[in-house]
């Protein structure tokens, strides 16, 4: 039971509101699914940050000792 009767505007715009709501829910689900896929596949989660990150440089083994860093 609602406190106030729906304004006539809400009835007229029901399809728009419902459509937009469902679209937004679908968008959230899609972004979530994309995030899960990207994280579990191990896509790079970091980028250049003004410090040396050997693990970003595929030419240099992350655990290697003979790196080419100056």
């Amino acid at each position: 039971m609602s406190f106030r009767p729906d304004h006539e505007l809400h009835q007229r715009r029901f399809s728009r509101n419902l459509g937009l709501g469902l679209t937004l829910v679908a968008f959230v689900v899609l972004v979530f699914a994309l995030t899960v896929v990207k994280v579990t596949r191990g896509d790079p989660m970091q980028a250049f940050d003004h410090t040396v990150r050997p693990e970003l440089d595929r030419a240099v083994p992350a655990t290697g000792t003979g790196g080419t860093q100056p």
């Binding site: 715009r13 399809s15 728009r16 899609l30 994309l34 899960v36 896929v37 596949r41």
Partner: protein, 311 residues
């Protein structure tokens, strides 16, 4: 749209009216060709990433459709084929179409960059710009070559699909582009031949209006002849194979016969049978593109069983 124009508002816009702004029928062709571009690429894509990429390519195409409806509302209102579109029908205001088009363009490009790669997103952004600005705002009302150059916008989706998977372009993706690019003029000029009053009334410089109907028939034949080698070349690349080649030969033979028939017949004869040949050619042109891209897809499927391709 040259100046401020208001269309009589008729009732409340429903969700479907906003969907109609995105030209769902054009979108379905975009989804199909982009999907083929993605699936025939030599690099695999995770299904969720592939789904998201196709969705955002379609959304970008829809956004450019909304921008087109904002800009072209004045001529859409005059033409029978388009006067029921949401803006000229008074269901959605022109400004809303502009806002929706701009917002969805941004969302589509950014999300494609995040879900796939920057190159594919850049191509999508260029496609939207090309369709909304180069075609709709600039060429459509200026030159009878509007369809030829505007057709490039419709030709990009398979290239974007390919770029989603590979991160670049190649001969194969360029040929898929070329296939749609060369197919567009005969497809639309056949439509212009039997929808003649529409374009004339709206003052759009279609070839039929500026150069006459006989010249349009000749141009249909020329472009159909030029389309054939592109189609055959595509069938001879890594995305093709014996099956695709056989389909391409059959489709081009039928298409060429139709174009020849259109070129050969005089206008009086066409009026006599209410443009039966032109209408048949137009319908077949839709089947041509669908079947050609379906053939690429079947070939890719055959390859997974070690059957298709030129190996």
């Amino acid at each position: 749209m040259s100046d401020v124009q208001a269309y009589q508002q008729s009732g409340e816009a429903q969700f479907g009216d906003y969907v109609a702004l995105l030209k769902p029928r054009v979108m379905s062709l975009v989804v199909f060709t982009a999907l083929v571009g993605l699936l025939v690429a030599p690099v695999g894509v995770h299904p969720v990433v592939g789904f998201a990429a196709i969705l955002f390519i379609a959304l970008g195409a829809g956004a450019s459709g909304a921008l087109n409806m904002w800009w072209d509302a004045d001529i859409d209102a005059v033409m029978n084929r388009t006067k029921t579109r949401p803006v000229p029908a008074g269901k959605v205001q022109a400004g809303e179409a502009l806002g929706l088009g701009m917002a969805l363009s941004g969302i589509a490009v950014v999300m494609l960059a995040l879900s796939a790669n920057l190159f594919a997103a850049g191509l999508l952004a260029f496609t939207i710009f090309f369709y909304a600005v180069v075609y709709s705002m600039w060429l459509k009302r200026l030159t009878p070559q509007n369809i030829v150059i505007g057709g490039a916008a419709g030709a990009f989706p398979p290239m974007i699909g390919w770029a989603v998977a590979t991160g670049g372009v190649s001969v194969e993706s360029a040929l898929m582009f070329g296939l749609i690019f060369m197919w567009t003029p005969p497809h639309f000029w056949a439509l212009a031949l039997f929808m003649k009053e529409d374009y004339h009334k709206a003052g759009v410089p279609m070839l039929t209006v500026t150069h006459g109907r006989a010249e349009t028939r000749r141009q249909i034949l020329i472009y159909t002849v030029l389309l054939a080698p592109v189609s055959i070349w595509a069938a001879l690349t890594t995305i093709g194979g014996p099956f695709t080649l056989a389909v391409a030969i059959a489709l081009n033979a039928i298409f060429l016969k139709g174009a020849y028939d259109i070129w050969k017949r005089p206008e009086a004869q066409a009026e006599g049978d209410k443009y039966a040949v032109e209408k048949k050619f137009f319908k077949f042109s839709l089947a041509y593109l669908f079947l050609h891209f379906a053939a690429f897809l079947v070939e890719a499927l055959l390859k997974t069983y070690g059957l298709g391709g030129w190996a």
